[in-house]
């Protein structure tokens, strides 16, 4: 077996292609966190008093909390006082650009390099993009076209100014500021993010997308996304993310809240490609994210699809609270842990209403020294008559130094509820690689073919424009993986 192991264990060297730094003047707060920092961020954004109060309540609550250590991940203690909680491109005294035309060309260039051109002539057809750079949104495309349909898609800061009633009504309604350590921290210091409102009966004519970019060093990114789909509406939203290569770890603690009213449907897809760190575990993003949606009305539907290839540590459990009768929750996930990456990810499906249904398809890939854990909760409440869940949880191992773990939790309080759980673990064997070689197929192509075959149930859930991208990203993330 030694020769087998050796062949596959040459599975490390990987090049991160988004690791460049944009040299741009920035208005950055010095590291450290206290009430003044919270006030400062709120003041920067001209926030109403109630929002500052909400932040301060969160901050005070956070000070009483302890960082969770139950995930299957290991890392050195985080010094929360060593992080800067706000960094915005542009000089301190300059006003924020009012339209994309006023945005610093360096920023536009950055997004162009990342494959997300923002200016009119090169924009992605059919996709509206909100571009978030460190702590602020630098611009949102296709706004006028969306406005024609009554769709609101803007930065969170703008929404606070323009649509305060919506923010006040829904902020923290799915993820309360007391929810968990990282969500509470986010509630205190969140700087920007995206806001979406789809009016009654409207099918959003474009894919909506937010591209998160961390640029500044020693800065955390704490964005907050809120999507509200009013009765009978439909929206598909995608987020992407990248960061420069640095030896230090950087903190990313985001919160996403989704609200689907009666008969509404929200499809939320993530292609997460934060810098993963190197093979010895130096650098990379700590991705501690709370994502939760509520199917508030009857027959509503929320579908999470995630492709997680980056980050040194991934800690996220996009969840659905199925409150409305006949509502549907879905979770499709591909999580890759290569190099020294650690992923502890999964979902929570909380069935409260009658005839609620949920599907969980999780594909974990472990390579290099990566550790991949699936952690999922299926809860059938006492009123969840005839609720159903199907969970399929597959792990694929590449090489012999990585690990896969599964932690399923099931709680059933209604005797008519049905829960199914299936799990498999397989390994890309040297024999499979050799078999492909013996048919003329190169080792790297063979690995890609096997991995893509393993992931295809999830990839086909992505919006078409991004399915190819996700596949290509997976190929790149496994580049140089097998000798």
């Amino acid at each position: 077996m030694s020769a087998d192991t050796e062949t596959i264990d040459r599975f490390v060297a990987q090049e991160y292609k988004w690791g460049f730094v944009t040299d741009i003047e920035a208005d950055t707060l010095p590291p450290g966190l206290d009430e003044d920092v919270v006030r400062h961020i709120s003041a920067k954004k001209n926030e109403p008093e109630w929002l500052l109060d909400w932040r301060l309540k969160a901050f005070r609550h956070w000070q009483t909390m302890e960082e969770p250590h139950w995930p299957q991940v290991k890392y050195d203690p985080i010094d929360y006082q060593a992080v800067s909680y706000y960094s915005a491109p542009g000089a301190k005294d300059k006003d924020r650009p009012k339209s994309l035309d006023e945005v610093d060309p360096k920023l536009l260039e950055t997004y162009e390099k990342l494959g997300v051109p923002l200016h009119e002539r090169a924009r992605l057809a059919g996709v509206a993009v909100d571009a978030v750079f460190d702590s602020v949104s630098v611009g949102t495309t296709h706004k006028e076209e969306l406005a024609k349909h009554g769709v609101i898609f803007c930065s969170f800061s703008e929404a606070v100014q323009e649509y305060p009633e919506l923010i006040k009504k829904y902020l923290g309604s799915v993820v309360p500021y007391t929810d968990n350590f990282f969500a509470t921290l986010n509630s205190a210091v969140f700087s920007d993010g995206s806001f979406v409102y789809i009016p009654k009966g409207v099918r959003c004519p474009l894919e909506l997308s937010t591209y998160f970019r961390i640029n500044a060093a020693e800065t955390g990114q704490f964005e907050r996304t809120l999507i509200i789909a009013d009765e009978g509406s439909h929206v598909s939203y995608l987020e992407g993310c990248t960061a420069p290569m640095r030896d230090e770890n950087q903190l990313h603690a985001a919160v996403v809240e989704l609200v689907a009213l009666g008969d509404a449907e929200i499809k939320y897809s993530t292609v997460q490609n934060w810098y993963p760190g190197d093979e010895d575990g130096n650098g990379g993003i700590y991705n501690f994210v709370t994502k939760r949606g509520i199917c508030k009305g009857a027959r509503s539907k929320i579908c999470w699809t995630q492709v997680e290839t980056g980050s040194a540590i991934t800690w996220k459990y996009p969840s659905v609270i199925l409150r409305g009768d006949d509502s549907v929750g879905e979770f499709y996930s591909v999580a890759l842990a290569n190099l020294a990456q650690q992923a502890d990810t999964g979902t929570k499906m909380i069935h409260l209403g009658k005839n609620t249904r949920s599907t969980v398809i999780s594909k974990g890939i472990s390579a290099g020294k990566g550790q991949n854990s699936y952690r999922g909760l299926v809860q059938m409440g006492k009123n969840a008559t005839n609720a159903r869940n199907y969970t399929q949880c597959d792990s694929l191992l590449i090489g012999s130094r990585c690990g896969a773990h599964t932690f399923p939790y099931i709680e059933v309080k209604n005797p008519t509820a049905q829960v199914e759980h299936e799990a498999t673990t397989s390994k890309i064997g040297e024999d499979q690689i050799f078999y492909c070689n013996a048919r003329g197929i190169e080792t790297q192509d063979a690995v890609n073919m096997i991995v893509n075959g393993f992931c295809k149930e999830v990839f086909r859930e992505l919006p078409m424009e991004f399915a190819m991208e996700a596949q290509a990203l997976m190929d790149v993330s496994l580049e140089g993986s097998v000798g």
Binding site: S2, G429, F434, N437, R439, I441, E442, T443, M449
Partner: protein, 252 residues
């Protein structure tokens, strides 16, 4: 076409092949027979380039090139094909997709344009008809859940698609019922031409009822101890491998 000289090879320091000499010319069908553990499969794996097997001595020349210097994927692109004794299952990878990737890898190696899905399907249908195979196999994942017979038929389909000049069939008959054996043999015979060659590795004589070799070699303890025409296979069947291994041959 293929010239093996004094080939010594083994795995993890244990010598299995102890000096093989064998020359195969275009248009010839050779059979290698031998008891379990004689080194038959090791020979097949070494020819295909499996890394776990180390070559200690000797040379293998294929179409004028040093075969042992070529990567496994290059060997098959150059026309040396191994039909596996135990074809490997690859869950999630569609058989048609896999076969097209294989065919196009070979085509690109020879500077030919890759086949698109439509042209490939046409080619595949042709071969399926020729080999009298069941098309349903192609919709499934590579070898996944195939019966023993289905796997071996799929190997022959791959062989037909890649159109090798030197095909090595490693115990393709093992685990086959008589009907499957006939289908496989039919396929192999259909693919035989004056400009290609076949090396059939088998434990039993019965495959040779359907594929008639020009030469039969008997492998024992890592060496070819006897070579002859097709009648040698019958003699072996009658007398058993003991006839060779108990030492009578050396004096004969």
């Amino acid at each position: 076409m293929l010239e093996i000289k004094n080939l010594k090879a083994g795995v993890e320091g244990r010598e299995i092949l102890k000096g093989i000499d064998l020359t195969i010319n275009a248009g010839e069908v050779h059979a290698i027979m031998g008891p379990n553990g004689s080194g038959k499969s090791t020979l097949a794996q070494v020819l295909a380039g499996r890394e776990a097997f180390e070559v200690a001595e000797g040379s293998v020349t294929y179409k004028g090139q040093d075969l042992l210097e070529l990567a496994p994927e290059v060997r098959v692109r150059e026309g040396l094909f191994l039909a596996f004794q135990y074809p490997v299952e690859i869950p999630g990878v569609n058989t048609t997709y896999f076969l097209r990737a294989a065919v196009n890898a070979v085509r690109e190696h020879h500077g030919e344009a890759a086949l698109n899905a439509v042209d490939f399907l046409k080619l595949m249908r042709e071969k399926i008809e020729l080999l009298q195979l069941d098309e349903a196999l192609l919709k499934r994942s590579v070898n996944e859940g195939f019966s023993g017979g289905e796997k071996k038929r799929a190997e022959i389909l791959q062989m037909a698609l890649l159109d090798p000049t030197m095909a090595v069939l490693d115990e393709t008959d093992s685990g086959l019922d008589i009907d499957a054996l006939k289908v496989v043999a039919h396929g192999v015979n259909e693919l035989k031409r004056a400009d290609n060659a076949q090396l059939i590795i088998t434990h039993y004589q019965r495959l040779l009822d359907y594929i008639v070799p020009d030469f039969v070699h008997v492998l024992s303890d890592g060496r070819i101890v006897k070579s002859g025409g097709k009648e040698l296979a019958l003699e072996l069947e009658e007398k058993g491998y003991d006839w060779i291994t108990n030492g009578e041959l050396q004096t004969a």
